[in-house]
């Protein structure tokens, strides 16, 4: 590797050629502050927080985009640098809604942290006119409050990176604001609800639509039987809300906390994931054997499903008709579980904890009411962040909780279900079951390494029962767009495709804990979180969905067999083509 020799604050340093000053400084233990910069996503050098002095340069330079060169001398902490950064912050504050005490991002706000770290003492230095600001809560999943927007464009870049690009800068100068085409509310444009904009936002301008109060109300309603289910990836991320290292598996404490919040049953969406695999593997085999539409594409990710409805409606027949694990679990709670317990499904409130903001949209879709009209499969969706807040609100000391187990009625699951939270996980789980079914035996080789890992686009060919099965796994909608364009043109020859909406899969979902750019730019969050899931899979006694005794019981007692008429009524759904304009 080519290196160049530079000096930072007088300290000699050898760094890879092509590094930016920001990266070089980081390797020397110097953390240059940033606001607009997000690695690989938003590298526009616009906010001027990361300015440094370079010997011989005419003015301060933006270190996030400025490459190092041989003999360069950089100064990161001179009075000139610090004054400039402070002034930048003071000017941002001059048009900022400074309601920090009541802001949801207080404590995790990057603007707030920088003001503290740089010692900004006067938030009124440049006080004057305030621009009119947009407040948009038109969708099910998020709230945009532009009075807290600093115009860093991180959300715009995140949206474009999803090939959605429905938000952008409108107007100019003092009136510049982030909005949608023709100033339409977000609900009127082709937003897929993925929430990647929220986790990119450094301030409180973008937040999930908080439903903690709805959950508290249900928990305190004596006429309601309130049940909770948690998605595979929550156990790998919830700990971050309580300051634990990225990638800590907190399944036991999470269950304990939910029980202490007052949920009557704490269920695992992993049960629904195993069920999804049963139905999806069966659907795949049927399509292969009966000349059905191929490639079949997974349907667990509601952001992806909505994207398909907007951008590739002609490929909707390729999408599996299976409901997502959340909706399968909800549907089984309100039918099978209700029947067994003698409960009226109308009295059951199903709360789900999801890594995902699109799940808040998904529960309102048509054909998501297995127990009868007006009885939604899932009633309320909380993101990981909201659950973190709810636990704090109820003053539960998370770190000191014992490890507890899910309630057995829908708490048993397999390693196959756990890895659903990462890109490649659904494919691997489906292959484990499809291979056993088609081969008619228990196949020993169950680790499908080729579909693992953080790459956005993976493909592999597996020989199953004499047939070459060609699979593709993509995450992030830009990758999905690329793949589907090929499928649409009849290329690829794929049989089975897994698509997850968020880059890296659910572990990097729009509902996950927000890590500041100072962490996100230098840590592989997705890999660390996914590792927690793969480790759990490896340590589980059962690692194939069809070996889950609870799944066998559900089919024996209630559903019949995979793909049965009853299974279709309860576990499958339909899609609609949507217009983008």
């Amino acid at each position: 590797m080519n290196t160049v020799n530079i000096k930072i604050n007088g300290m000699p340093l050898s760094v890879p050629a092509g590094s930016t000053i920001l990266q070089a400084a980081k390797s020397a233990g110097i953390d240059i502050p940033t606001l607009c910069y997000l690695k690989d996503l938003n590298e526009i050098g616009a906010c001027r927080m990361c300015v440094v002095e370079v010997k011989g340069a005419r003015s301060l330079v933006a270190s996030c985009v400025y490459p190092v060169n041989e003999g360069m001398e950089v100064f990161t902490n001179t009075p000139k640098v610090i004054e400039s950064r402070k002034m930048t912050l003071e000017m941002l504050l001059s048009v900022h809604n400074k309601s920090c005490l009541t802001c949801k991002r207080s404590g995790t706000c990057e603007l707030q942290a920088l003001c503290q770290e740089l010692g900004v003492e006067d938030s009124t230095s440049y006080e004057g006119a305030m621009p009119d600001s947009l407040y948009d809560d038109s969708t099910y999943h998020l709230v945009r409050d532009n009075s807290k927007c600093i115009l860093c464009r991180r959300c715009v870049a995140a949206c474009a990176n999803q090939h959605v690009a429905v938000i952008g800068p409108n107007s100019r100068g003092f009136d510049t604001h982030i909005g949608c085409m023709f100033e339409q509310p977000l609900a009127n444009v082709a937003c897929v609800s993925c929430g990647q904009c929220i986790v990119a936002c450094p301030t409180g301008a973008l937040t999930e639509k908080d439903q903690c109060a709805d959950v508290l109300a249900a928990l305190n309603d004596p006429t309601k039987y309130v049940v909770v289910q948690t998605a595979p990836s929550i156990r790998a991320t919830l700990g971050e809300c309580f300051g634990m290292p990225v990638g800590t598996n907190v399944e036991g404490k999470m269950v304990a906390a939910l029980r202490r919040l007052g949920f009557q049953k704490v269920f695992d969406t992993d049960f629904g994931a195993d069920l999804t695999i049963m139905e999806e593997a069966n659907e795949f085999i049927e399509r292969v054997q009966n000349g059905g539409t191929l490639p079949m594409i997974t349907s667990c990710s509601p952001g992806w499903v909505k994207f398909c409805e907007y951008y590739f409606p002609e490929l909707l027949p390729n999408v599996s008709s299976c409901k997502s694990p959340q909706q399968m679990t909800g549907a089984m709670i309100k039918t099978w579980f209700a029947e067994k317990e003698g409960l009226d499904p109308k009295d059951i409130v199903v709360v789900s904890v999801m890594p995902c903001t699109a799940k808040k949209f998904e529960i309102h879709r048509d054909d998501m009411d297995a127990a009868g009209e007006e009885i939604p499969d899932t009633d309320i969706v909380l993101t990981t962040r909201e659950l973190g807040r709810l636990i704090k609100l109820c003053r539960i000391d998370f770190a000191s909780l014992p490890d507890e187990k899910f309630d057995p009625a829908m708490g048993e699951s397999t390693g196959a279900a756990v890895i659903f939270g990462s890109t490649g996980g659904v494919m691997e789980a489906a292959l484990r079951t499809a291979a056993d079914t088609l081969e008619g035996r228990s196949v020993d080789h169950i680790e499908y390494e080729e579909v693992r890992g953080g790459a956005g686009f993976k493909e592999a060919v597996y020989k199953i029962a004499g047939m070459d099965v060609k699979v593709a796994v993509v995450s992030g909608l830009n990758n999905a767009n690329e793949l589907l364009t090929r499928v649409k043109n009849g290329e690829g020859g794929y049989h089975f495709i897994e698509i997850m909406c968020c880059p890296g899969g659910c572990v990097n979902g729009g509902g996950q804990p927000i890590q500041p750019s100072s962490v996100r730019n230098f840590t592989d969050l997705r890999a660390a979180r996914a590792q927690a899931l793969y480790t759990q899979d490896q340590n589980m006694p059962l690692r194939k969905s069809h070996e889950n005794p609870l799944i066998k019981k559900a089919y024996d007692e209630f559903l019949g067999k995979p793909g049965s008429h009853k299974a279709h009524e309860i576990l499958h759904t339909t899609y609609v083509a949507r217009s983008r304009y």
Partner: protein
């Protein structure tokens, strides 16, 4: 000031659409194709309503929000149609101190439209402009190519009447 967006029904003709499609075809694949497309589309339609911008976005295969962002960034682009008579009131320094704001208010009140809007019947549109170079006549307004100077708000009604009656 943020741009006003027209809520008048779109009345594009097939001929205009044909012209627009030719414009898009000419610029497709170019770097920065949005700007020339918007410029030429405005020459065809007089303004850039959502219908026109959607055609451009679809044709160039770019996000509609990006097209809209460009159209609201540059002051030359209008999102509201021009009327048969476009009234431009100068709010440059000289006109302003001589009371142009009162003239603008009087027109706005009489026609029932705000600056950057067009009347429902398509007769009048109103814009506030910067210096037209006739400061000696301040406050000044123009109706299409006709210049009116040394105005007071009371003059407005008579001038508008002339155009309404077709005696201009």
């Amino acid at each position: 000031m943020q741009k006003r967006i027209s809520n008048l029904p779109f009345s594009g003709t097939p001929e205009q659409e044909q012209k627009l499609n030719a414009i898009i075809a000419r610029h497709k694949g170019e770097k920065g194709a949005i700007m020339p497309c918007l410029q030429e589309a405005q020459e065809v339609y007089g303004y850039l309503p959502v219908e026109v911008q959607t055609m451009i976005a679809k044709g160039l295969e770019v996000p509609l929000e990006e097209v809209f962002g460009v159209s609201t960034f540059y002051s030359q682009f209008s999102l509201t149609p021009k009327g048969k008579y476009n009234i431009s009131v100068c709010l440059g320094t000289a006109c302003y101190v001589k009371g142009a704001a009162g003239v603008l208010d009087a027109i706005s009140k009489s026609l029932g439209i705000q600056p950057e809007e067009c009347t429902q019947d398509g007769m009048f549109s109103l814009t506030a402009c910067r210096c037209v170079g006739a400061c000696g006549l301040a406050p000044v307004m123009t109706v299409n190519d006709e210049v009116y100077g040394r105005l007071v708000p009371e003059d407005v009604e008579g001038i508008l009447e002339k155009y309404k009656n077709g005696n201009a």
